[in-house]
Amino acid sequence: MITSAPDKIAPNLNDFDVMRVRQDFAILNTLVRGKPLVYLDNAATTQKPHQVLCAINQFYGCCNSNIHRGVHFLSEKATEQYEESRAQVKRFLNAASTTEIIFVRGATEGINLVAASYGRTFLKEGDEIIVSAMEHHANIVPWQILCQQTGAVLKVIPMDDNGDIVMEEYAQLLSERTRIVSVVHVSNVLGTLNPVKRIVQMAHDAGAVTLVDAAQSIMHMNVDVQDIGCDFLVFSGHKLFGPTGIGVLYGRESLLEMMPPYQSGGDMIKSVTFEKTIYNDLPYKFEAGTPNIGSTIGLGAAIAYVQSVNLDKAQPHEDALMAYATQRLEEIPGLKIVGTAKEKAGVISFVLDFAHPHDIGTIMDSEGIAIRTGHHCAQPTMQRFGIPATARASFAFYNTLEEVDVLVRGLEKVREVFA
């Protein structure tokens, strides 16, 4: 009789291994202030793996050239790599076509592009734009300016004390006057994961176009524009383990076709005479001038990296980080977590009743711990909770449970100084 060998408990090579991932980020093994760096400011920007640094280096070292212009070898190479990044973004977001992927400087520029190009063309006096109460200034100010320019009105979906959007109030705000609904996917202050699919659906039922600010969600979860169903979506490369200065605007092709150029000049035209200019096809119509070629290629490498790590596989680890950090922080007397939404990702804001966030930040820094303190470019969110500032720990998949322990020990130091 043949008996099968008992199952070996061998590590599955396909599992997420945080220590292996950390080896890709040399900066995570450095000392700051003489202490091992504990980097918990990922919502501000993520670190970059060596794969991204290599790709940028390789481009400037071996392929540097302008794109879409030269007939020579290097220009061809550069164009190929640049467009390959676009194809990667398309697959990453599950967009229907590469013509829907516009490279911009970041989430901020993406929103400004939509507000200026779509908004100024199609909105008029009395139209309404809806945002949520937890938006980053980048998803408030461009709409305010648009309102000033067009006479449209900005409406705000309230949130409850946990930091959840009040969906009933949202339903009340929607009307035939609603033209644009623009909401954040994951709040950079509260960590709230908003039900964007539902929000988008309700907006579409009211006949509005939708924009999702995925600046924070993109590093934590697979973002599928067709599944969400949104018309526009923005994110920044630097919050996806890629370089600064590059970001993405996804736009539904039928809308982008109707929209006038945002900036104008080279590359975005087909032909120019002094009498008449014919604009280029999508996506180039929206990419005037020489773009940030090196960073675009770096973003492509970042996406390839994230896909190799696999956000689905990292999910249990990220969930464990959030759960453990929440539990450890709640145990600290005098600490209050700001933002206790049903579903959260990556971000924990808190205040201490014995120390101001700015003082917390300074003492944490002396321990090698990087957190953010302040209003996080979301002053209306601060006002909603009646606080001037918070301290914020934000996580990426390369953070460890041990780092949470260091954070908690750091907060004990704050208590030693202040209590």
Partner: protein
């Protein structure tokens, strides 16, 4: 990195916990608002200046970090009863010290020397100097709120 106790000295912690002159004097005739948008520190400084240009009373109200609150508290203690001119001189000395200058009068600063460590924390300099800019605005009847940006 120097010890945190160098920055957060006992006297600073004490003024943070129990700020002096934390009130609006009834007969204040000068007032200005100071704001640090970066961290949300927000104070109003009030003063009573008599016809001889003496600061006969002073107070402040508002919210902010330990450094900014202690700085405001100790500033009010320091300049109360001084002339406007002396207060402005004190501000100049203090500014020199906080920003790492060498050329200032240590004796004139007295207790305020506890803030000398702040110059080693570039992100905290604004906290320590906000109230002084605000006082300066109040004394000079400047209308615009002061911001550190």
């Amino acid at each position: 990195m120097p010890d945190m106790r160098e920055l957060y000295q006992e006297i600073i912690l004490d003024h943070n916990k129990a700020p002096r002159n934390y009130r609006k004097p009834d007969d204040a005739n000068r007032e200005a608002e100071g704001y640090n948008p970066l961290c949300g520190d927000h104070y109003t400084v009030f003063a009573r200046v008599d016809s001889n240009q003496q600061i006969t009373d002073i107070g402040f109200e508002g919210v902010g970090c330990a450094i900014s609150k202690a700085a405001a508290s100790m500033m009010t203690s320091m300049v109360k009863g001084k002339s406007v001119e002396e207060a402005e001189r004190c501000f100049e000395n203090y500014r020199q010290m906080i920003t790492g200058g060498k050329d200032y009068d240590r004796d004139a600063l007295g207790k305020l020397m506890v803030f000398s460590e702040v110059c080693n924390y570039p992100t905290r300099i604004k906290c320590a100097i906000l109230c002084w800019h605000t006082l300066h605005a109040a004394l000079n009847n400047l209308q615009e709120p002061v911001t550190t940006e």
